[in-house]
Amino acid sequence: MKNSIYMDYAATTFIKKEVLEAMYPFLTEEYANTSSIYSFSSKSKMAVDNSRKNIAEAINADRDEIYFTAGGSESDNWAIIGTALANRKKGNHIITSEIEHHAVLNSCKYLEANGFRVTYLGVDSRGLINLAELNDCISEDTILVSIMYANNEVGTIQPIESIGEICRNKKVIFHSDAVQAVGNIPIDVKNSNIDLLSMASHKFYGPKGVGALYIKKGTKIDSYIHGGAQERKKRAGTTNVAGIVGMGRAIEIAIDNMPSEYERLSQLRDKLITGLLKIKSSKLNGVEGSGRLPGNCNISFENVEGDMLLAILDTYGIYASSGSACSAGSIDPSHVLISMGLSKEMAKGSLRLTIGSKTSEEDILYVIEKVKDAVAR
């Protein structure tokens, strides 16, 4: 039996061996700056180009529409603030949801403090936004809609194609924070009418500190990081070759594995959910089945304190999470769960377990047993 069981894949993932191997040359001999002319930089240039292609393929975009960033948060900030500033002559209204990641929410708050108007759509008890509400909310002033592809806390997958259609009909730019979805479920930006899409490498077994923003050709968006001419003059900064190579290899592997992993993880997840729901006064947060990310399980327990639960599980070597952790490490009730209608108490007593590549059936059974024990205390 393992000493520790990692159940927090939604927070981050380990770097797969093949990814590390792909990165290694670019951390050692191939250290050239890709903005240079000499032949020394050709391997690096090609490697970055290759990654760009892989990422584009993964979401059915063109390679010219992929721009590398320093991660999901930067992609979100760029998408939202960059679009707002570029289109502010057209309007100053932005629509997003209450359950977005803080990178989206805080970017919106920043815009509110700078003359923009933001509507935060609520969600129902399953975590889904109301399409009619979105439709009605779009006015002539609206320049951007930002709705996350799948939620990081409860795994709920939004009706992205329908949202895309509404936005296309109303001619509003559609951004989706797909950080949790990429690598786990199939994404097709053309089919779904998505204009901007955020991705983060460390969620699909790539290195931390690198991500991407898909920007559909023709989308009006200001640069966010100003400086040199990298990323077609849209995002400055010496190219993070190793990181980008890692991200590219990681997504390649993820796409290859997706059909089988989706099945395997969904089954394990459902087993976990079923086992945990046997505990008294427990409730599943989010949707069941295919409307939920294959690796996500989020359960609330009545009369339980989330932070104590996590500490007890930690003493068993089980690494899980709950709510949104602040830097000090103690938990405040999740804004997502509150938005879904949970009481503060139930929200505080929530446990998020997310599984991935190394999770086995044994792990699931062990975790169920230990959670039962911890909840009892």
Binding site: D307, M308, I312, D314, C326, A328, G329, D332
Partner: protein
């Protein structure tokens, strides 16, 4: 035998060395920082919140160095209820509270002990300077080896159950020795200043703090003499305590002291030093440690505040909850809301909250 202990780690030198000492003694140590500060942006901006986060990081570093697990656990609700709200209410009612006494009673040795047990520990430990001993089946608290740092005053509410499950290894050391140990082990916090302010009011300006929490209720009022003649204006009763001479904002030519606070009239009474020298008081919410109930009068040494020297007195039982205390010598500025704590030699007998002065 369960030798698991949860150490309440504040990020300061004493609790850091406590964790080290217990680990050396063979205990299975778990470090916990109690998150008690209210967490909202406004509070952080006003109260300089970042400091509280750095205390957690100090604790985390110590835990990492010792190789012990470390968690930050949420105590905000109980702390707000039992310590912060109590603190504000007492001042609003013209009394001077002692938040550390409340925190020890309800948080450190109650809530924290319960969570420690849920984590599988048999004990909770802190960096307090006090000695816990067992004597014929009864647990006692005694003065620590360091008289200047002795903290037994704030510990009089302990029950036998709590004492049976609490460890305070710093009690048998002097403060300098604790700092020395910290330095030897290589703790960065070895020369960290001792915290002397109220933990949830970093700038120690309790008057301003209460005014912010209760916006329209802290109002200017009259300074009066004991006959009721108006002498001037005060900032709000929460800014004053019995015996206070400085900060009155008026010069009288002779030293004037706060002798009483009348909340329902919003008045602060000023008088001479004579007026605040008294010998008798009644205390409520009494707790005794070496025995359960006081049956008959007892000769003790008593302190009417943290910083006073223990002074000879006799305590008389009134009922299960109250005692009368009669001092041999006049005491200066006995204050409602403060605790009166009794000693028999170096043994902490118990104490209670000063309810009235006779």
């Amino acid at each position: 035998m369960n030798k698991k202990v949860v150490v309440g780690m504040s990020g300061g030198v004493d609790s850091s060395v406590t964790a080290y000492l217990l680990k050396e003694q063979g205990y299975d140590v778990i470090g916990v920082t109690m998150q008690v500060w209210p967490e909202d942006e406004e509070y952080e901006a006003r109260e300089g919140g970042c400091c509280s986060l750095s205390a957690v990081e100090d604790a985390r570093r110590v835990a990492f160095k010792l190789g012990i697990p470390f968690y930050v656990l949420n105590f905000k609700d109980t702390f707000k209820d039992k310590v912060i709200d109590y603190f504000i209410d007492e001042y609003m009612q013209g009394r001077t509270p002692n938040p550390c006494v409340a925190c020890n009673k309800y948080i450190k040795f109650d809530e924290l002990l319960k969570k420690a047990m849920a984590l599988g520990a048999a004990y909770v430990a802190t960096g307090h300077y006090a000695i816990i001993e067992e004597n014929n089946g009864r647990f006692l608290i005694k003065n620590s080896k360091d008289d200047k740092k002795d903290q037994t005053y704030a510990l009089y509410n302990f029950t036998q159950f709590q004492l049976a499950h609490t460890l305070m290894p710093c009690g048998t050391y002097k403060k300098e020795k604790i700092r020395e140990i910290a330095k030897e082990i290589g703790f960065e916090v070895h020369n960290k200043k001792d915290s002397e302010e109220i933990c949830f009011i970093p700038d120690n300006d309790h008057g301003a703090y209460i005014k912010r929490q209760k916006p329209n209720q802290v109002r200017q009022g009259n300074f009066v003499d004991k006959e009721g003649n108006i002498l001037g204006k005060h900032k709000g009763i929460v800014y004053y305590t019995i015996g206070q001479r400085k900060g009155l904002g008026i010069a009288f030519g002779v030293p004037m002291f706060v002798t009483d606070i009348i909340p329902w009239k919003n008045e602060v009474v000023l008088g001479s030093e004579e007026d605040i020298l008294k010998t008798e008081l009644v205390a409520k919410d009494i707790n005794f440690i070496p025995f359960d109930i006081l049956d008959e009068p007892f000769e003790v040494k008593a302190k009417i505040r943290y910083s006073s020297k223990p002074s000879s007195a006799i305590i008389y039982p009134i009922d299960e909850n109250k005692v009368k205390v009669i001092f041999k010598e006049k005491q200066r500025a006995i204050t409602k809301g403060q605790s009166v704590v009794f000693y028999d030699g170096d043994v902490l007998l118990g104490g209670g909250v000063i309810e009235s002065i006779l």
